[in-house]
Symmetry: C2
Subunit: 899 residues, 2 copies
């Protein structure tokens, strides 16, 4: 016979799979000797059986009877006893926290008879009938599925009749009437009376919890959070304890340290004569935990002792829910508490100093995401601020600019050099250009998965969304505050994407101290004086010591390279040469593209060559002694010409006027027409360009090699690596490699500087390259995974287009938990990375493996890259500290053995 | 000690790896007792060792000495003997035939002394000195690497001085002078005399053959033909025999059956008093083999006997090279002969009838490519034709149309409904639109890998290229024939892509008899009366009996479906619903796209629904009783709107005129702008469209299901399968599947026809789908591999763009042996297909697997699909017979055990 029901004594905190998080932690506390109300847990296995068969297992009912009998014996009350009834709550509790997703029914055990027994024994008839009212309401809504509005309506009507809006003004008679009416609602909906039998109440509530696992919102939440669908939920049946039995009762929540600031010492709220729901409802102001000592010193002292015990036991910040019933303290829940980024760093170091955890463990207590939070620009805390609204913190950062209401106004403001905030009720794909142009985005509707939120996060742009108190009229061009103040386009506002706050006027933005620390502008004294910066400093040094992966930066010029170096980069993983083709060199590039014969083409390249050489000298000098991976030209050449639509329109206008295009324009038009591609992302770019425009890659390679020779002659230590982009077939690499080797030979001969040791490698950014990696490795000293392009081709969508088109829809419907451009899609794209890394290493054991897509700076992705045995990650200079931290963390969890 | 040298007695035809094709077959003939001149073969291993170490293995020289001594003993002559020298040829011979790629040196053993011996013993001084001249010339060019022009120039000057252009007019004195001058050329180039030592001549020639393996043209050829680079070549050292020693000598080539028509009986050419080179030079007309009987009956009879023996031995058509030296017949080469498509089918059946091979073997003697050749439209053989030129048969078929010289003229002609032939010196990517518009393409330059040839084959468009006798002046708009006749634009020509011929005027095009056979328009008597058709009929029935793969067709309407059925399709593997959205329904689709709210959108879909249902009734009826896989809408919706450039130009013109666009145009412009994608191939299409435009796929599914219900109620047996395109994540399929299942339930309830058995499956056309196939199989009754899209995303290029941009470059440089859109790229794309098929079958053993990309009709690809265990291939109706044949052939070579 399968065991489906567990007593507290039979559980512990490691049994979350079977008992859920809440049940496992209740058992843990019980076994530590802490006061937990008698409880039993119906396992997730029972849930899975119920969902598979549409009914609970046959043996479950008897097991529940036994468990109830045990509780009855312990408490000395009986379920359904008309004189002194045992009441229980039925609460869901899955392995992973799914806030707001699951169901709870309180006060099970009350019926028409026992309600009077409860009234008599507590001497509080109002309390008893209010409890009964709550049971019927929760049961009706949760178990039977009656629209909650029906019950609320009856409550509202009764209060209206009494001329009040406060539940507390309802007396026993009112509540009795309400109970009758509630029972009528149940009868009407089901054709049956509200069940009087407590066991039936309990089983029905349990089934409702089971079913709630597959409720639409739960399915969606799991899909978004990538929680497996087949875990099921446990059900906790807990003896009810009441904090609302008088002034010697109460309820509260507490943290063993301040989860916001990370300050040492307990932190929490207490509310006398109240239940948990009342705290949420905010009927009265709570008191701080410190004040609880004054009202109930014994309970307070016991609680303090318990909190010390819990923290020592869990070795971490715990959060707690408790209730005092007639001076008796009961623990209702505990778990390792959530905390802010700042608190995480401080607490991790505090716990090391207190000898509770070691350094390796401290590293696991913080995350790159948290470090990133500490590095976002922020508003000067000391500055005066006029807060006008609060929305959701959809994408962090601090942005200041004038209000614009349309995408085109944003583009205009940007063009005019005026920073702006795009303000919309909600955004849609048409707003994309405006979102790109704006400093930040503010919407009055939509949550964290709305279009605005998703796209802004993807862009790394500050966004506050769903600021519902703002009335935004884009047609009228006004944003009206709750107090009636009207703001118009052009007025400056400041938005805080980290807190969700919106301010009127310009709030000064400052670099947070953690960034100052990484920039190297703080003295050792200043670092020591700031608990947070000091903690970051300590944690970073642990991370650097543990890391197996090294961290490089993506940088295209000396300035970025220098910053990356300050931030701790150990090289450049991606130097894009296309950025060197822009600006005042555009004309030379146009000559190259418009060249009509080899001579003209060579002429254009000869003009570009010395400029390229200068670029490489600058960056190799900034990274002296460290590797610099230089990628030869990647994007399609037509990116350097006007758009096809633009030139077609120009020609059409000329024709309509009976004019001719100028010869120069004609030439450009012909080139644009010739090079126009329906799908440039899948077109003539990367190595294909290098093979078709013979000489182009050779010119670039020569510039790299000559820059290197010159620096070596000057006594420097430049370490370039030449990278061929977009290789799909080994033949492409073979041909290009032999051309570059030939060039290296020539440069060596001319300069007398040996150059044959320059590593030549390739991007792995096409599925075909990943699949044929073994072959390709035969001709590559290194692979650099271009996970952006690899994501595009593996999924078959282009980053530019999809973020506008269907990404928000996919996020909302949970097809993506997170954008695959933000965090590597491990199942799909990651599988190709793993295959290629394994095959490449097998074919060439000393091959050097790295990643240079945006994922190189993403925490979850870094752990994967460590696991599959890459040698380095490369990311934008600003992300380098995050990557260093995660490189250390990933090594700390066993990643170092994965090769 | 490694054995590097093999006598004929030590070899046989299965030793091609070691001895090359030529050496292995010479050994085979020798061991059959046929007269082969004494020969030894230096193995490919020696070549590989030479190439790896830059010199031949130490033991090789002694082994060669032994082999020479053996030949000397057999022949009774000695190498370098000044009175009666043994002469040998040194010929390359790799495992795979590489025509024109490798090297040969004849007459080795001649020097200043032995040339007089040869003159004396043959009594033909002119012959002796001509042979010596040839040796020095070949040696100088091939072994030393002297520009061949230098020798030709001396020859030409000598002839000019004598006032002749014919070699035969040179006498002994002339040839002696030439020999001296040739030796001078050698001395000048090397600083040494021409080597007089025969062994040195032999070794140097052998080394040259070895080195020729890595010559640029050989490397390129191997890359194009996908011949492994590490095989190396063997070297055959053969005793020279001479067909030019008088009228009792001669040389010839022969086939055991007619390789062109397939007619029974030997076929070949003979030339008296000549060497092989003379046949090629075309100095005199050859005689037919039949006439040889008259001039040398004994040799003829012996040859006939040998040919019968060879065919019996090889059990196939053989081709032969032979020489008669003073009435003695020598066999110089044999191999299984190449033949035309027609001959292949006839000979396969002849051999079965003769009891030489069985039916299974007969099936391996023909190919789908050959069957396809027999199905191309052709010119009426009986019609009068005015042939004006002959070029290369670059892409088969017969095309008739007026001459156009520019891409835009082609487009104009097409628009006006006038068929045209695009005539260019050569084509480039700018000509793409014209190539699409034209019936056929004719160029005067470029070979079979030229842009015109590659692109035309990719499009399946008739093309003749490199017709050098045509002088094409596109600017002047003229095409001048060799006789001076000038043809201008507008004049009709006919081009035969199968033969390379060009005709003036319109030649009637007819369906070849094999197509008439498949169409079912021939009677059994007519079939029996035509040897070719009869052979095709017999072979097809063998193929159908052997096949494991079934063959379906891609068809979008009843007519195509009916033809596919006649051609033997066992279902529809791909019915594209987008084609049903075109034509006079475009307006409804535009309403759908322009809909501003759900109501308008629903309205548009409601209008489309009954039309769609009609489409499905038509196709399901035509395929009654057979499966029809219907793919829901795949392409991006904006394909149904004007292009972005077009509408931008329209707006710019209106603005320039100070006008406004009409409201309708404004709406369209807004939609075009909204839906514009940089990379539509990677955009909002397939299942993404279905998820974003809720209701669209449901409407289509409902139309399928209602059509099915109606047909079932009418007693028919419709078998639809619903296919979701472009799935990348199982979540997409899950959501869409549950919507369709809901729709099926609704239709079942409304119509009373059970519909829940309708299979629902997905395309596997994204790398991510292939990588996560196991998961996806959990929700799909079938996979259909969309290898076109899978090729695009795996390689990262789009079919439309690349064929214009860099494909011809890639073909020429050998990066592709064949376009991956023509034949599946087995190493890359194929690996993903294999992974997905294996994982899908593992996850769901009864999953049905097929392919519906263009590769479903490609012979090489079909063999791969059979090997990885797919259940069916689907291709265009016209390719169905080819696919049936290859399905049978692939099963015949062990493919049936691969599952």
């Amino acid at each position: 016979m399968t065991k489906f029901v567990y007593s507290l004594a039979e559980g512990n905190r490691d049994m979350k799979d079977l008992l859920g998080g809440k049940g496992a932690n209740l058992a843990e506390m019980h076994n530590m000797g802490l006061p937990v109300p008698p409880t039993f847990t119906i396992s997730t296995q029972a849930c899975k059986a119920y969902l598979a068969q549409g009914q609970e297992p046959a043996e479950l009912s008897a097991q529940i009877d036994d468990a109830i009998a045990e509780i009855e014996a312990e408490i000395g009350k009986k379920l359904g006893d008309p004189t002194d009834p045992l009441l229980v709550s039925v609460r869901s509790g899955a392995k992973f926290s799914m806030p707001g997703m699951m169901e709870t029914v309180l006060n099970i055990g009350l019926n028409d008879a026992s309600v009077d027994g409860l009234a008599a024994i507590t001497g509080q008839p109002r309390f008893a009938y209010d409890s009964y009212r709550r049971l019927i309401q929760m049961f009706g809504k949760t178990v039977i599925g009656i629209d909650g509005e029906k019950f609320e309506h009856i409550l509202d009507e009764t209060k209206k009749a009494k001329g009040t809006t406060n539940d507390l003004d309802l007396d026993v008679a009112d509540l009795k009437t309400i109970v009758d009416k509630f029972k009528g609602v149940v009868r009407e909906a089901t054709g049956r009376d509200f069940p009087q039998e407590p066991k039936e109440q309990l089983l029905e509530a349990m089934r409702a919890v089971f079913r709630s696992w597959n409720a639409e919102r739960a399915v969606l939440y799991r899909r978004q959070e990538r929680i497996p669908a087949d875990l099921g939920t446990a059900v906790n049946v807990c003896t009810m304890v009441f904090g609302n039995l008088g002034m010697d009762s109460g309820t509260g929540v507490a943290f063993t340290r301040d989860p916001a600031s990370g300050a040492k010492g307990v932190y929490g709220d207490y509310l006398e004569n109240a239940q948990g729901e009342d705290v949420v409802a905010g009927i009265r102001n709570t008191m701080s935990l410190a004040d609880m000592e004054r009202v109930d010193k014994a309970a307070y002292d016991e609680l303090m002792g318990i909190m010390t015990t819990l923290e020592g036991h869990y070795k971490d910040l715990c959060d707690i829910e408790f209730t005092v019933q007639n001076k008796k303290l009961w623990m209702l829940q505990t778990r390792v508490g959530k905390r802010t980024a700042e608190a995480a760093f401080k607490i991790a170091c505090q716990l090391v100093d207190e000898g509770v955890i070691d350094e390796a463990e401290a590293l696991q207590r913080v995350s790159g995401d948290q470090l990133a939070m500490l590095m976002f620009p922020r508003f000067d805390g000391a500055a005066a601020k006029a807060k006008i609204a609060k929305g959701m913190n959809a994408s962090p950062g601090a942005a200041v600019g004038e209000i614009v209401f349309t995408s085109s106004a944003a583009v205009d403001a940007k063009t005019a050099g005026r920073p702006c905030i795009l303000v919309r009720r909600e955004t849609n794909p048409d707003d994309l250009n405006g979102m790109i142009a704006a400093e930040g985005i503010l919407t009055s509707r939509g949550g964290k998965t709305s279009h605005a939120a998703v796209v802004a996060r993807g862009m790394g742009k500050t966004c506050v969304c769903g600021a519902e108190e703002l009335d935004i009229d884009t047609h009228g061009g006004t944003m009206t505050l709750r107090d009636g103040t009207v703001l118009r386009a052009g007025e400056v506002i400041s938005i805080d994407g980290t807190s969700g706050e919106v301010f009127r006027g310009e709030v000064p933005v400052v670099a947070p101290p953690v960034v100052q620390y990484f920039e190297g502008t703080l003295t050792r004294e200043e670092i020591a004086a700031d608990e947070l910066v000091n903690a970051v400093d300590r944690i970073m040094s642990i991370a650097d010591r543990q890391a197996r992966l090294t961290v490089r930066a993506n940088a295209d010029n000396g300035e970025d390279a220098a910053r990356a170096r300050r931030f701790g980069a150990q090289g450049i993983g991606l130097c894009r040469t296309e950025h060197m083709f822009l600006g005042d060199r555009r004309e030379l590039v146009e000559h190259l593209i418009l060249a009509e014969n080899d001579e003209q083409r060579q002429h254009a390249m000869d003009a570009l060559a010395p400029l390229q050489k200068g670029d490489f000298i600058e960056i190799l000098e900034a990274m002296d002694g460290l590797p610099v991976t230089i990628r030869l030209l990647d994007p399609p050449l037509h990116e350097f010409l006007p758009s096809h639509s633009e030139i077609t329109a120009k020609a059409a206008v000329a024709q309509a006027r009976g004019e001719e295009l100028s010869d120069a324009d004609k030439k450009v038009a012909a080139a644009v027409e010739r090079m126009h591609e329906q799908n440039p992302m899948l077109g003539l770019r990367g190595v294909r360009l290098g093979l078709v425009i013979t000489g182009l890659f050779r010119m670039q390679a020569r510039a790299v090699l000559e820059a290197t020779a010159e620096l070596r002659q000057r006594g420097k230590d430049p370490r370039p690596e030449i990278m061929i982009p977009l290789v799909g077939a080994v033949q492409e690499l073979e041909i290009m490699r032999s051309r570059i080797e030939q060039t290296a030979k020539e440069v060596s001969e001319r300069t007398g500087v040996a150059m044959q040791d320059t590593p030549i490698g390739t991007m792995i950014e096409l599925p075909r390259a990943a699949v044929t990696a073994a072959e390709i490795a035969g001709h590559a000293e290194f692979f650099s995974f271009g996970t952006n392009d690899l994501t595009q081709t593996t999924w078959g969508f282009s980053r530019d287009d999809v973020e506008a088109a269907f990404f928000s829809n996919y996020m909302e419907s949970g097809i993506f938990g997170v954008s695959p451009f933000e965090t590597l899609d491990i199942k799909g794209v990651g599988e190709l990375v793993r295959m290629a890394a394994t095959a490449g290493r097998q074919a060439r054991p000393d091959i050097h493996l790295g990643v240079c897509g945006e994922h190189g700076g993403d925490p979850a992705s870094i752990h994967f890259f460590n696991e599959v045995g890459l040698d380095y990650v490369s990311c934008s200079p600003f992300r380098v500290p995050v990557a260093r931290l995660e490189a250390g963390r990933s090594a700390g969890v066993g990643g170092s053995d994965s090769r």
